[in-house]
Symmetry: C2
Subunit: 162 residues, 2 copies
């Protein structure tokens, strides 16, 4: 990832997209969120969703998986250019995680992040903090998931343990 000093409010990260198959929706939900509208097509028809749809956690974890891969690609590209790669800390949590629309079978969700705040950490002035609004948008242009996350990022002058 970039150093705090190189990150601008409004920067957009195109994280990647994921298509949710019926098998994957059911397999995820059987293991983690076995509610009838996530595991059973027939039962889902009479639920208020009207059809099988992905667990909201599944929609979030598809983002996580893509985000790890995105960071790796970015780091490799920076190394290939001979640039230093800034460290990034783990997320401390998420705010305002909203599942705005159901994700149905074969929906493709396009994930992106937009930087909405950057600042120096008050508790650890050697580090910065970056707040991102992440969204997932389906093939019809509807936002299905949205959340805010704040992460420690390195400063050019600072140092981080990880």
């Amino acid at each position: 990832m970039k150093y705090l000093e190189d990150i601008r409010v409004g920067d957009v990260y195109e994280i990647g997209r994921h298509t949710f198959s019926a098998e994957e929706i059911k397999s995820f939900a059987r293991r983690f969120d076995p509610q009838h509208f996530h595991v059973d097509e027939e039962a889902a028809k009479t639920s208020h969703f009207g059809a099988l749809c992905a667990s909201g956690w599944h929609t979030a974890l598809a983002w996580m998986r893509l985000m790890v891969a995105y960071r790796r690609r970015e780091a490799e590209a920076a190394r290939a250019r001979g640039e230093p790669v800034a460290g990034i800390g783990p997320a401390l949590g998420f705010r305002e995680l909203k599942w705005l629309k159901p994700v149905y079978v074969d929906d493709t969700i396009d994930y992106r992040g937009e930087v909405i705040e950057t600042r120096v950490s008050r508790s650890r002035p050697g580090l910065g903090l970056m707040t991102i609004r992440s969204t997932g948008v389906n093939q019809s242009g509807e936002t299905v998931i949205s959340f805010l996350s704040t992460t420690f990022v390195e400063r050019r002058s600072g140092a981080t343990g990880d």
Copy 2:
């Protein structure tokens, strides 16, 4: 679940506990959150966590799984007593999801929820809304995860489609 009229602020739900084995931590993270401190014991030692620890999403999903089982047990117990079972809607999202401490190998997390608000829905007055603060506490008494969720619940006089 109970009807809105039978839910009190301060009610506590003991959802259940889960122990995180090294194999489960790595298996989850390989699939969804393959950062080195979640998938590789040796690499984790030099990370700022100091040892292999569970993905925060894993800690959240262990809660989800236990919550679905908890609701089922509650519904079955109510039916066995000959009582009606109120419907409960899916969560619309989560707020203030915080991973406060790492979850290390063989940690046992005890999940509970406390009702912090109940009210009639403004948009759908036939339904109620219940806000719960959910927490997971490890065997040393440290809170490792905390979040707020708001869910539609049935009213005695109302009706819900699911």
